[in-house]
Subunit: 409 residues, 4 copies
Amino acid sequence: MLVKRLDKRLCEPLAVEDFVVQSMPDASPTRWHLAHTTWFFETFVLARREENYRPANADFQFLFNSYYNSLGEPFPRARRGLLTRPTVAEVFEYRHAVDQRMARLLNSLRDDDSQETARVVELGINHEQQHQELMLTDLKHAYSCNPLWPTYRQLSPGVDTTPARTSGWSSFGGGVVEIGHAGRTFAFDNERPRHKTFLQPFEIQNRLVTAGEFLNFVNDGGYRHPGLWLSLGWSIVRDQQWTAPLYWVERDGNWHEFTLGGLRALNADEPVCHVSYFEADAFARWSGARLPTEAEWEHASTGLDVQGSFAESGRYHPASVNGDGAGLAQMYGEVWQWTASPYTPYPGYVLPSGALGEYNAKFMCNQYVLRGGSCATPAGHVRATYRNFFPPEARWQFTGIRLARDPQT
Amino acid sequence: MLVKRLDKRLCEPLAVEDFVVQSMPDASPTRWHLAHTTWFFETFVLARREENYRPANADFQFLFNSYYNSLGEPFPRARRGLLTRPTVAEVFEYRHAVDQRMARLLNSLRDDDSQETARVVELGINHEQQHQELMLTDLKHAYSCNPLWPTYRQLSPGVDTTPARTSGWSSFGGGVVEIGHAGRTFAFDNERPRHKTFLQPFEIQNRLVTAGEFLNFVNDGGYRHPGLWLSLGWSIVRDQQWTAPLYWVERDGNWHEFTLGGLRALNADEPVCHVSYFEADAFARWSGARLPTEAEWEHASTGLDVQGSFAESGRYHPASVNGDGAGLAQMYGEVWQWTASPYTPYPGYVLPSGALGEYNAKFMCNQYVLRGGSCATPAGHVRATYRNFFPPEARWQFTGIRLARDPQT
Amino acid sequence: MLVKRLDKRLCEPLAVEDFVVQSMPDASPTRWHLAHTTWFFETFVLARREENYRPANADFQFLFNSYYNSLGEPFPRARRGLLTRPTVAEVFEYRHAVDQRMARLLNSLRDDDSQETARVVELGINHEQQHQELMLTDLKHAYSCNPLWPTYRQLSPGVDTTPARTSGWSSFGGGVVEIGHAGRTFAFDNERPRHKTFLQPFEIQNRLVTAGEFLNFVNDGGYRHPGLWLSLGWSIVRDQQWTAPLYWVERDGNWHEFTLGGLRALNADEPVCHVSYFEADAFARWSGARLPTEAEWEHASTGLDVQGSFAESGRYHPASVNGDGAGLAQMYGEVWQWTASPYTPYPGYVLPSGALGEYNAKFMCNQYVLRGGSCATPAGHVRATYRNFFPPEARWQFTGIRLARDPQT
Amino acid sequence: MLVKRLDKRLCEPLAVEDFVVQSMPDASPTRWHLAHTTWFFETFVLARREENYRPANADFQFLFNSYYNSLGEPFPRARRGLLTRPTVAEVFEYRHAVDQRMARLLNSLRDDDSQETARVVELGINHEQQHQELMLTDLKHAYSCNPLWPTYRQLSPGVDTTPARTSGWSSFGGGVVEIGHAGRTFAFDNERPRHKTFLQPFEIQNRLVTAGEFLNFVNDGGYRHPGLWLSLGWSIVRDQQWTAPLYWVERDGNWHEFTLGGLRALNADEPVCHVSYFEADAFARWSGARLPTEAEWEHASTGLDVQGSFAESGRYHPASVNGDGAGLAQMYGEVWQWTASPYTPYPGYVLPSGALGEYNAKFMCNQYVLRGGSCATPAGHVRATYRNFFPPEARWQFTGIRLARDPQT
């Protein structure tokens, strides 16, 4: 399967040591991601299809459960990096064993009984894609804790020399619109149901905010003026002594940026990256603009192709865009775009039954919706209705900014 | 002024010691509330009207600033209870001095120059009303930390013996509706502008959830089933070992409730009180219902009189309702009703200029909107568009539950 | 009783508010000290003498137990400042009631049965003296948290203008010596038994280290050189950002000191005060000296009169000493002197039976012995064998430094 | 060198993953130990002998400095497990490179200039032995965090079936005795100088306390009676919910013990292991005895051979002892024996000059002395005067109990 091929490619540059480390509770070791996505197939497909299913390893059912409380108490998230066993090799064996059983199962599926199974397999593939992205972002965070600044691999094509195009705005008239996913193609439960909502007229910026624009905010004292920040954000700025986006490093008066290709000079034309919701919101306020709501973003993206830099590009860093600035660019790929919308259930949302009901809905609190995918997202994984979500303080994902504003009268 | 009369009444039963204590960072000493509301008038009215204004006490400008960073670094919130000086008597002198200067100012106001001042005075009065409610809830929390269970005053009329009426539902058809405040009467900036929004058809319960109904949830293991809870809520249930609403006390197998009138047997007919958003949400899920959005709540309340138990009633505890159950009851007073809506700016929201811009907007993150007022809210303070807000884990306010649901087909 | 007279004098300048506040877990509200010392007499004297003793207030047995686990779970230490009730007036009533019963009891004591009671009464008086000292130090800490710098009372005689005398050293030859208390006069259990120990020859400084000398250490970068510090001390210096003794305040390049008489310019001739063991130890290392052991201190103090500034002096701040510098000065009063000796039981130590066994011995871990008493210690409370003890990071007591060294060859 | 041979043997059973993990701030990854001991030779020998020394890797000077502040700010201890690079293979290359340069240096040493170098080399070897012990104890702790209970290697000879001999006591008369190291053979600075001290008569138990004896304490409610514990110890018992020694696991009513050979049934005859000072002290109090002082221990050990189970035995677990019970057994090897002595400098202690002065002295605070070595200590590393030290709450070392008492009259 394609999803397995990407797993393999992502793991190629890694030493055994890289699979083991957990650099913070929010991140997980690569090995854990590999085992957990396999556990997902084993638990939700194999074990449900076969009576008296004998798990590949009974302990793994506990070790590699992420947060499905209805399947039993999971191994504590913050302690995933304490496990030296199973070894990386044993995890790959586990993956191989489950993959083979999955292959046998998929070959044997008949019409009638297969629909539900196919649905969960599709969910499992999308789940694995999500963890592929996390493997990259979690590894980047782990590397960033090492003063040797390890290099994951040479970025392709390396430094982007495209000058960012002039910023412009696209206007939308608002009214009753529809957002959300409908139809039989795959989407997560949180994208459904498609439903009506009302939009005031709005404008949305034609490209992502660049590192150079954000540097102006930094140089203007953006991190020192409490009036630009949400109250919770200002507390974090002070407690954590934030002075720039995560992975920006100042040396001898020049800004650098840690990437999966190592430390390099900040490129002002590329989209700003690794900012929290708080920083995105403060930057927007400083700019005299605001962040788009998720409904605005989705409405604006109607009819656009899903194109941009994704994980397969080997770029692992957002690319700049040039051209004349007409029309919306960079709506997909590059960086996840923070929206102003707290992550809540859509009207008429139906909780999936069973343990899979824990997949999305229980996280609908104190998180914000992000849209569009990033350079670490597997191609084909996102769509216009896709809702990613992170707490407003999260910075280790490839997260950036697109501005919106009320119509200028 | 009426607002002063209520301050006086609220302080009557207090010993000097009661004015001083801060029982948690979220709560403030009574004395601090009294000084801060005075500081508000001094800072935003007196100091702006008079050139070369000489403050009553220069240190107070620092000590009693709550969170207006643009006026300088405030004294740390969590340390308000460490101050032994100014004494309570000195704070009352300070109030008296500022009140007199305010009276002189108000008498001298002329037509042209007075509009802006009148607007801020009105804000100051509403601000003081908010702190009157906090004085009651903060004091209740402080008393609850004392194993002697101090009594604030005899509740009036004491135990409510009205049996709660049968629950029923009111239906609404949805469509494009308007919510938010318009016109020249007072409202906070966060209630504006009045704007269109789209509602799906919904039903809302005719009365508040009772303590007896919530007790069924407790007895059914509600606090022990992770599947009923938001993920963050479940973490808190476990970390803080929640097993019932705040102030519920089990003794020899019987539930009691700590009130401002002391500890007494739980009254199953009264509205449940002192629950967090997490508990409200879990209860709703357990009930096969959900919480209303703030737009649903506001739309449903159109045309209803603002009546119920408020602070002036001397009840200091929510009252039960009886009757035939037709029509919406208990929409105002009794307990604040958690909505499913995160606290966000309305479309077209305009930030007030200057330091007063810090009043509301900077808290629009990780909080939920509550509607309707409580038995600790001064009468006349709330209205249909009024938006209160607290973090989802907050329990020390008089917060309760009203259910909503999608139409039953 | 004298002890009551001092209580009264210490409380004279206080407002009700001052009795209530707890500024950190290590400190207690004045009101708590007053109630706890009364509780001590009630619990260990009255309740043991009278069959079917009815306590003045059953709740107080729980509220005012400090740490006697064998009498039941005490009210949590860190929450003593959350209690608004009993009020200060009620605590004084409680004291009065117990004092009267104590007076009746003492009058009725007969020869045979009185010895054990007299012993515990004597312990209770000494216990109350310890809390009198804590009332002063805890209040000083609470006041120091208030940017208004409240004044407890005018210090007597105000600023000490005596220039400190030249430092000199007294030599002792060592050998087998005896330390510890013997005989029938009162001493705490931790001072017993008198026992032999072996001392190498040593020298001890003739006076306390002055603020001026300590300022030289500060100015020489003493707080910035890790090599001068114990490892734990260096961690605290960095975490807490220590740059000078507690209560030293730098303003416009000049050092001031917060005292119970308010903020005033640092007096270089007075003994340095409010330093931790870590600071005392680092200063000694910087000086090319060391701290004395408690055995050295006690041996050196043999035959000296117990004289110096104590609580009754009204000075509440250590005084300087002048003269020719011959002989040991300032061995008592002024400031407690950190010794190099961890607080351990003496050889042959016998644990008192019952709850009073918890008085001292259970604290013999991770604390250091201090000797000599301070300007906040009631006169007559200390003696040559007296062992005070605090954790090495404690600074809110009146603690200072006397140096020792090995013989200079 | 022998020390290298043991390193090799200790690493044999390890997977790459085992070298990487840090299970708590007090423990370090195996890879870190290996790199740090090499860094020690490079820093304190090679770099000092060669002018313009070019380090094997300049970054390593920072990464593998443990706590020598005078050599620059060390990499934070608690983050050692976040490093994925250098890889284990690179660390072994580093070791190889430094070993070769050390071999060249040692071969070229001449008489006159070699004494100081030989002294530091000897220190480096002893330093490496200390880390060999830590490699075992840190690895055991990491394994214990894994619910799979990994096995390091089969213990030799497996379960000890020797019944523990009857307990007896040896008596000593006390008086002025000498302890501490003298002469030219190697000892750490903290063992010097040899000096006189005074001992009261005492008795010391002839063997270590067994797991069976400690189980009696557990079964008698030892962990539930505050009166048996030091105050700090009792806080930890409650906060950390201690109910037995570290690594004891109760399953279906039977006690097991996690060892480097996996989980196995508790053997009542073997010495109890992995207890803190607090548990040792509480057990002693429960037994009506006490812990020996380090002077008592050292005096009692005079003339005994250094024999017992050490790391080379492959046992990795303490062995029981049998026989008639006359005379002191198990004074060396098996488990480190907590003494009642806080870790302080000996009278006349001289701090080594330069960075090596940070080796021992700065830790002389809030730690207790342990004596005798353990089954994880390299043979030949300990001696009668050897002073190990750990904080009183430490349990992950092989630490046990020997009792002492005052003469029974």
